[in-house]
Subunit: 477 residues, 2 copies
């Protein structure tokens, strides 16, 4: 555990180096990220073995996750080199205006030291060198990562590699640090040195830290990705064995330990989709979950849900110690609407709840009750009128899928990972994809500034060659 004294040293150092990190160029920081990516790639076997010993996620998945993680680092390197993220905007002085307007130049600047809370279920992609840390470092914010207690050895080893790579690449000492301990995490959020917080985890833990962040004497932005039911709507014409097999694969993937797992699936009443799904799942052996705590939480959550009036168990139920076995439950729109608080709970693990609907309108009413989700998925056929359904799904989620399954999150420019509460604390941002850098930035305008004091991004002649808006007109670099 990190002692209070150590934490103070770390946060004080982060504050001290923040202006130094902020003053580095995008090219320099892009090179830091690429150095970190190269180091992780070079140590992939060691890291995957360590991760598997702590998470039981398996070497195939974990190897893929390292590749995703180094891909993220390289994406953010590209994002800052490209320069649009700076939102550079120049309005020249207009002495003819009433009243006359001065020369104004606006761009994004780093917020300062950022706290990042690791997730249990992505020991690489949402942990020590994950997307939050990468996006914050990319734009010039020092990063202090709170390790997740489910993979401490991996966290420490990753932090060692990141620290070495950053040092070798010329980053200032103290631009990156790892801390451990629950109380340390709370103190970190309270620290006056911290200017923003990134978090991936449960609604309960996330809300508690959110409340800390916003009740500080100086509140700071808290970007939390919490829980999500990820509703799926299957129209009558879309029911098929293939669809059942797809859902079976998605909700059991990684032992159901994904924030994008399809947790509630609306299916037409009287269809045999439940039977098809149970057949598709089969009877796999119980699989170890990320931690014994998570497994027992899954078992009790599923048991509670199965006991709600109007909910029946189609498959599974009993869970063996520290493992998860697939569970398929079933209910109806009317039972859901009669007691939404009991029915609409996320069971983090391999469970999904089928909800039988009479008409698509009834299903949409129930989906509105599901509230905020990271994703919402429609399985329809061209014969269905999808436009209105798509609008309803967009109102409650950050990513609307037409076919396919929400597990699997591409890391690119168009990705959106964040939706209305409770799926995130800040639906106006994303924690995956290029736009994730925006969480760590604030605008600063320079009025009538001499060229010598302007950041290069705002100087005449566009020395960085980046996209800019000049006198209202966007121009490419």
């Amino acid at each position: 555990m990190t002692t209070p004294q150590q934490l103070t040293t770390i946060t004080t150092t982060a504050s001290r180096v923040a202006p130094i990190v902020a003053a580095t160029t995008d090219t320099e920081r892009a090179a830091w990220l690429e150095a970190v990516a190269d180091t992780l790639d070079a140590h992939v076997d060691e890291l995957v073995a360590l991760a598997d010993s702590e998470t039981s996620l398996g070497t195939t998945r974990l190897t893929g996750e390292v590749a995703r993680t180094t891909g993220q680092l390289r994406l953010f390197a590209g994002v800052v080199r490209e320069g649009s993220y700076l939102d550079a905007t120049i309005d020249h002085a207009n002495p003819a205006a009433t009243p006359p307007t001065p020369d104004l130049r606006r761009m994004m600047r780093p917020l300062g030291p950022v706290a990042v809370f690791s997730a249990s279920n992505f020991p690489f992609a949402f942990s020590v060198a994950g997307g939050d840390a990468a996006s914050a470092l990319a734009v010039g914010c020092p990063v202090i990562v709170k390790a997740h207690p489910a993979h401490p050895l991996l966290s420490r080893r990753t932090a060692e590699l990141v620290t070495e790579a950053l040092r070798d690449a010329g980053a200032p000492e103290g631009a990156f640090a790892l801390v451990e301990g629950v109380e340390t995490g709370s103190e970190l959020v309270r620290s006056p040195a911290i200017e923003a917080v990134g978090f991936t985890g449960s609604v309960h833990g996330g809300r508690a830290l959110f409340d800390l962040a916003v009740s500080r004497p100086k509140p700071v932005p808290f970007y939390g990705e919490l829980g999500s039911l990820n509703p799926v709507l299957v129209t009558p014409s879309a029911v098929s064995d293939e669809l059942a097999a797809g859902l079976a694969g998605s909700f059991t993937l990684g032992v159901g330990q994904f924030c994008t797992k399809p947790g509630v699936v609306f299916v037409p009443r009287g269809s045999d989709f439940g039977d098809r799904l149970v057949a598709a799942v089969g009877s796999p052996a119980p699989a170890p979950m990320l931690s014994a705590d998570l497994a027992s939480g899954f078992a009790s959550g599923v048991a509670r849900l199965a006991a709600v009036d109007g909910v029946t168990t189609l498959l599974g139920g009993e869970q063996a110690e520290a493992t998860g076995s697939p569970v398929v439950l079933s209910t109806t729109v009317s039972a859901l609407l009669a007691d939404p608080e009991s029915v609409l709970v996320e069971c983090f693990g391999p469970a999904t709840l089928l909800v039988e609907y009479g008409s698509v309108d009834d299903a949409l009413e129930a989906i509105a009750a599901v509230g905020g989700s990271l994703t919402a998925t429609l399985h329809a056929t061209p014969a269905d009128d999808s436009a209105e359904i798509a609008e309803s799904l967009a109102r409650i989620s950050g990513r609307v899928l037409f076919g396919g399954w929400p597990t699997g999150v591409a890391v690119n420019w168009a990705q959106q990972h964040g939706g209305p509460w409770p799926s995130t604390t800040s639906s106006t941002h994303t924690s995956v994809g290029a736009a994730a850098v925006r969480r760590w930035l604030r605008p600063v305008a320079y009025q009538s500034a001499p060229s010598a004091v302007l950041p290069p991004a705002l100087r005449d002649g566009n020395p960085l060659g980046i996209p800019r808006r000049v006198d209202g007109v966007l121009a490419l670099g």
Copy 2:
């Protein structure tokens, strides 16, 4: 006052029409805003007379403020027509990637009904048809404005004109509403219908509403512009009579009732800047303030500040009922640093505090203690090394001025009105200028969507002709 029943009707209606407003085109909403602007311009004499009777701000200033307000409405019309604000981003499917990635298209969508709290000191530009309302309506959010009690008649008349203009321009009934009453305002922030809040006012009132917004079961973004000291640093070589005259004009403008008023001015020790300033201010007649409450708050705030150890009064002090007279106080960096909480308080009215410094480094240390401000201003000459000073000023503010004075805020693409706490609750946004629309938006990504269900902004062929990023490459419309 708005009754609880009326408020419920208004918020319920706003929720109901939100999808209808969201489904309108940018061109349609731009026309709404222009219709509102035209109506306000057509009624300028009536509105200015009403405003002057309630605010005593004078017809010249108020006529200019109407022009600014209608200019804002037209700017936001242009912003949504231009379309960059949608941040339209397309990543085509890449079957060759590991793992393969689907077609993903992301854009900004309106958050839903928004609450806007009017300010006392800008009865037009930050009130019923002000920047918050205009920017939210522009992007498709219904707006419920809480009137400021200092100008109720103007608020009601403006709301009538806005409502008529919107109706005539084809906006749905209920896309705009006015409410009144302190308790009504709190209930509005608590309403589940409200998805975000804009506020301009005091630190005390703003913090109370911020706390309400973030402690809701479903927290919502709160964009508050609270208080600001707007520090000014004058280097030894920049001291002049002209500078003193400029400061005198700026801190007394509008009886000092601007959030960008220069409230604390760092001047070299041993210079005669204080004498020059007192001479420049002269002895104007006491001027009526916006309200008797504000005037008595100003009088007591100035008296408290004048009584702090190490603070001396160079000009003024006693205040007559309901009016404000210029006050110039003076202190030193060491007195400021000895008791920052007593010295660094905003006196909303025509007062400024000179702080004598020994070295520029001492001044920068004190400016760091000032904390977050909307603006920070440097008065230097080419002989001064301004680059490091500029960095220090950028760390604590949202707009850094080189020469000139912070009162007077151009409304254009590059403006930034928002800085670190306590000047705003959200330093990552602006409440003035084109980027103000971003406060009311959240991203939604569409995965593998059929063209027919996609919003036009994301369809192949770019039917709207807007700037978009396609496969990572930004392209103009």
